[in-house]
Amino acid sequence: MTLTTTKSVYWKGVRDGAPFIFVVAPFALLFGVVATEAGLNVWEALAFSVVVIAGAAQFTAIQLMQENAPTIIVLASALAVNLRMAMYSASLTPHLGATPLWQRALAAYMMVDQSYACSILAYEQNQRWTPAQKMAFYFGAVTPVIPVWYAMTVAGALIGSSMPAGLALDFAVPITFIAMIAPALRTLAHQAAAVASVVLALSFAFVPFNLGLIIAGIGGMMVGAQVELWMNRRAQA
């Protein structure tokens, strides 16, 4: 019984994760194109996507390497963009912490914005799932996404610089991220956190090495937590 349920949860994950193919594909395609324009060959672009699997960090690293930034700055900036993964890791821990270490290591390798967002949402809606079922959902959610990430990087690198500029592919990234955030703005605390993040990111955009984003992230979390406490106090009063 548990086995079939776990299996059906895996397939629910696959179904819930499948729409993100349309999110990840243009992103990976764009990375392949950008990498080729920066002088990488197909294998180097693919290696980048397989080893790192983090679009925003990969774009950051390529951009800074093209500007001949020191390697330490390239790494620090790209890892700063990826700091949110540590926050995802922490927020998944109460759900997945009881599963075997090798599964957690695999889950960590495949952690991307889409698999995180989709899994946390499903865990909130299905609080009675066991840790094994939650892990099955997670693996289901990444199953359609990760192979597309690799394949479309290769496709982008092969198409290379022959992409017409009129496609405005630069805006694929903002649109997909906004579409993911908008449905999550369901309470005043979530909305306050998002507004604080936008204001802080724009105000601290001058801070080098992407540290403005870290300030925005930490500030947004603090605002969200404080508004939640305030809402709780008001509800009790």
Partner: protein, 112 residues
């Protein structure tokens, strides 16, 4: 213009170290803390990770798009606001993406 050629040694150093660093960030809590309970104040902050980080990542890309050399641009701003409104009211990621992309292409076509 910058020289587009990236030294191979630098490239592979960045790929390998960025890969190891990214894995470490993803593994740190999930792998090392495991099943131990975490304090309330930490969990209360972590609930807002996604909505605190991603808007900050997106906002500068909307207000100062790279493609226009950092100048605020009506098609991109309208596309971003359409995506936000559709995503908020429909709760459907794909409707939001295709609606936003539709507005972007329409305005780029009309104004281009």
């Amino acid at each position: 213009m910058t020289d587009p050629i990236i030294a191979k040694g630098t490239l592979w150093t960045v790929i390998i170290l960025l890969g190891l660093g990214s894995f470490a960030l993803r593994f740190v809590f999930l792998g090392l803390i495991g099943n131990r309970p975490m304090p309330d104040w930490l969990m209360r902050h972590l609930r807002y990770t996604a909505v605190a980080v991603l808007p900050g990542l997106v906002a500068p890309l909307v207000v100062w798009p790279n493609a226009t050399g950092g100048v605020l641009d009506l098609p991109r701003l309208a596309a971003a606001l359409t995506t936000l409104a559709l995503g908020y009211y429909t709760k459907n990621v794909l409707i939001a993406i295709f609606g936003g992309a539709g507005v972007l292409y329409l305005l780029l076509y009309l104004l281009g």
